[in-house]
């Protein structure tokens, strides 16, 4: 099937088999390796991308379902070489160790902060509860999301 997907702002047209999962389309057809494959069973969230702005687990969706829609991967977060505030906060707060969960975590954090710009710590913990991290113990991820929330509200003032 021929599909056209807007990926990180530009339209991409490809021929895919209906059974191709979105994550394989992103990684293998588009060559964007920031979406990872971990559990492959809809549990870990390392494959998370934004579909029309909302997080989805791309190992649990077919690429054909994204036809005509818009996707953001971690590669699309920075603009003009400038890190997104969420990325900058993960950097400054050491919100990652191995980095495997990080693209999914940051995309979830971005969508979450757009909906809830001033969250409590508990709200942050629930928001990232679909994404597993085996390294950090979540402490610094939560701090990074808090820092990003502060920086984003500074910017919008």
């Amino acid at each position: 099937m021929n599909i056209t997907v807007t990926v990180n702002g530009s339209a991409r047209t490809s021929e895919v088999e209906p059974r191709m999962l979105l994550v394989h389309y992103i990684r293998e057809v588009l060559g964007l390796r920031g979406a990872h494959v971990g559990c492959d069973t809809t549990s870990c969230g390392v494959c998370t991308v934004l579909l029309d702005g909302l997080p989805v687990k791309s190992c649990t969706m077919f690429a054909v379902q994204a036809d005509g829609r818009s996707i953001m991967t971690v590669e699309g977060m920075a603009t003009n070489g400038q890190l997104h505030p969420v990325q900058a906060a993960f950097h400054s707060e050491h919100g990652l160790q191995c980095g495997f969960c990080t693209p999914g975590m940051m995309l979830v954090a971005k969508a979450f902060l757009e909906e809830n710009p001033a969250p409590s710590e508990e709200e942050i913990r629930w928001a990232i509860s679909g994404n597993l991290c085996r390294c950090t113990g979540y402490q610094n991820i939560v701090k990074a999301v808090q820092a990003a929330a502060r920086n984003m509200s500074e910017v919008s003032k």
């Binding site: 209906p18 999962l21 069973t41 998370t48 687990k57 969706m61 054909v64 379902q65």
Partner: protein
């Protein structure tokens, strides 16, 4: 993991979808949120030759009160239920269950109606619907029928929906003007299926229970409606003794199996404790 090959249809109208289901019958599977079907296809537990993706059909994402019931369309995501004002204010059992289903990313995709159609005995919405006396509206090229949830859920992963039918919406009766409810779930971690889940609903009039609903998750081959416990409550005033009696009857209605989540005896006792806790919480927070 790759599913086996299939032919993909993404009908743009309900009529087209029903025609495809009529034509292909058992060979076709409806794809809604895909959060149960796609994992099964990846594991090759399911290998439908034809997929009918309903996500492009307009008008199926309505949450609205109309004609004495709440209508939840086939494409209403769990995310939307969590954020719905009408559900938060008028359907407390649903409002309590929504944030406990899977995890926030899976809730962005998974649908309420899809969960009912999947008929997982460990699914939370089946119990909520049993407690609220809900129903499922099934449509085919031959017409429409309204199936009470107790008749809809037929066994583990089996509903009474025919292969040519699409569940277009679920309906939940108006709760009245004095009501309360909640959903309690014991899970090992976020996103896990219930070890035990308990849905409760009470409608009252001047302190007397006029309607009671209790649904149990994860303790039988389907979600279970604790009918004897409900009957014990109706006509009474909520007291500690009545709550204990209803909780005991609900635990008797449970038919749990010992598995990795706990022993049968343990789960039955959790039913008793959670039904009592749920009824107490409901009695303490009536909406009037």
């Amino acid at each position: 993991m790759f599913p086996s090959q299939f032919t993909y249809h993404a009908p743009a109208t309900l009529g087209e979808a029903l025609a495809l289901l009529a034509e292909h019958g058992d060979d076709a599977k409806v794809l809604a949120g895909g959060q149960s079907l796609i994992p099964l296809m990846k594991l090759r537990f399911a290998a439908p030759p034809i997929i009918v993706d309903i996500n492009r059909i307009p008008g199926l994402d309505t949450i609205a009160e109309e004609g004495g019931s709440l209508r939840v369309g086939a494409l209403v995501r769990n995310r939307a239920i969590e954020r719905s004002d009408v559900i938060t204010s008028r359907y407390p059992t649903m409002a309590a269950a929504a944030p406990m289903i899977s995890d926030p990313v899976v809730r962005n995709q998974g649908t309420f109606v899809g969960s009912l159609c999947h008929a997982d005995p460990q699914g939370d919405w089946g119990s909520v619907m049993l407690a609220l006396d809900g129903s499922v509206v099934a449509r085919s090229v031959a017409g429409e029928r309204v199936i009470p949830i107790g008749e809809f859920l037929d066994g583990p992963f089996t509903s009474t929906l025919r292969a040519d039918e699409l569940a277009v919406e679920a309906r939940v009766p108006d709760p009245g003007s004095e009501f309360a409810g909640t959903y309690l779930k014991l899970e090992r971690k976020v996103g896990d299926f219930a070890t035990v889940g308990v849905a409760v609903f009470l409608a009252t009039s001047g302190g007397t229970v006029t309607k009671a609903g209790i649904g149990l998750t994860g303790v039988g081959a389907t979600n279970i409606k604790a009918t004897a416990a409900e009957q014990a409550l109706v006509g009474g005033t909520v007291s500690d003794a009545l709550i204990e009696e209803a909780a005991r009857l609900a635990a008797e209605a449970a038919d749990p199996r010992t598995d990795i989540r706990g022993s049968a005896d343990y789960k039955r006792d959790v039913v008793r404790v959670y039904v009592a806790r749920g009824l107490r919480a409901a009695a303490a927070t009536p909406v009037a």
